[in-house]
């Protein structure tokens, strides 16, 4: 299929490339000025256009990606101090503050909550599956009623 032609197509492509760069390099010390240069924008114009599309400034977006990745690593059982460095934060303090602001709880509370959920899923998985699906698949125990 031929690609579409639409106004400012080149601009969209550069902004998408910048977003994908953040998605891939979130753990590195990303210099957002460099991204603007790479995308051939002035810093001001870049931030404005990025926000128009993603509802976040590039910096806010970078932080949200880091916190999202942190959640995934915490879910996989990685210790908080390791996660902090692995997603690109330099201090545990700033990581915890930002995590709490975005996730609504501290990293350790998040770990505890996820552990409870996983235990509940393992212990009684049927409570997470609509009964009709479970019945159709033969996952329900036969009942007298």
């Amino acid at each position: 299929m031929e690609g579409p032609q639409y106004p400012k197509m080149y601009l969209y492509r550069r902004l998408v490339q910048a977003k994908l760069f953040i998605d891939t390099h979130y753990a590195e010390p990303i210099d957002l000025d460099n991204i603007a240069d790479e995308a051939c924008f002035s810093k001001f114009h870049f931030i404005k256009q990025f926000k128009n599309i993603y509802n976040k400034t590039p910096h806010q977006y970078l932080i949200s990606v880091r916190i999202q990745k942190a959640k995934e690593l915490l879910n996989a059982g990685t210790p908080v101090s390791t996660v902090c460095l692995a997603v690109g934060f330099e201090s545990l303090g700033s990581f915890s503050v930002l995590f709490r602001r975005i996730a609504g709880m501290t990293p350790s509370s998040y770990v505890a909550l996820q552990q409870r959920l996983r235990a509940q899923m393992a212990e009684s998985p049927l409570t997470f599956i609509p009964g009709c699906f479970a019945e159709k698949n033969g996952w329900l125990k036969k009942s007298q009623f």
């Binding site: 690609g3 579409p4 998408v16 994908l20 128009n52 993603y54 599956i129 699906f133 996952w139």
Partner: protein, 135 residues
């Protein structure tokens, strides 16, 4: 009175591949992922801003359908017979460029329609979806 839709089923050819497609390419979140029965797996995902709506990624091979029906269904899914849903986004051109970059196959590029701008893409099994930015 019906109030909401909470679950819908999408028949997929390979559950692991669908998991990768819906999470890593489309950016959906896993809601439930639990082993069930002998070798079953209950896997549901949600669009990022709609956590209460679960898409059940249901493998044709593990369904309780007869072999004949499952074979027919597999062929129909592969041929792109089923149009499943409309997904909306804040900016269709940016979303289109990003998904294309990630290898998602589009059969219709963003096109102005009377209700907004719409594109059409297929998932890794063959199911098709509309991607729309509504006016």
């Amino acid at each position: 009175m019906i109030t909401k839709m909470t679950h819908t089923t999408v028949y997929v050819l390979d559950q692991e591949s669908a998991f990768d497609f819906y999470t890593n390419k489309l950016g959906f979140k896993v809601v439930t992922d639990v082993p069930m029965g002998k070798d079953g797996r209950w896997l549901t995902v949600s669009p990022p801003e709609q956590p209460g709506f679960e898409i059940v990624l249901y493998p044709v091979a593990k369904s309780n359908l007869s072999k004949e029906v499952a074979d027919t269904l597999r062929e129909l899914v592969k041929k792109g017979t089923f149009g499943i849903a409309v997904f909306t986004c804040h900016d269709i051109f940016a979303t289109y460029e990003e998904l294309k970059e990630k290898g998602v196959k589009f059969t219709k590029a963003p096109t102005k329609e009377f209700y907004g701008t719409e594109a059409i893409f297929n998932d890794d099994s063959g199911n098709w979806f509309s991607l729309a930015q509504i006016n």
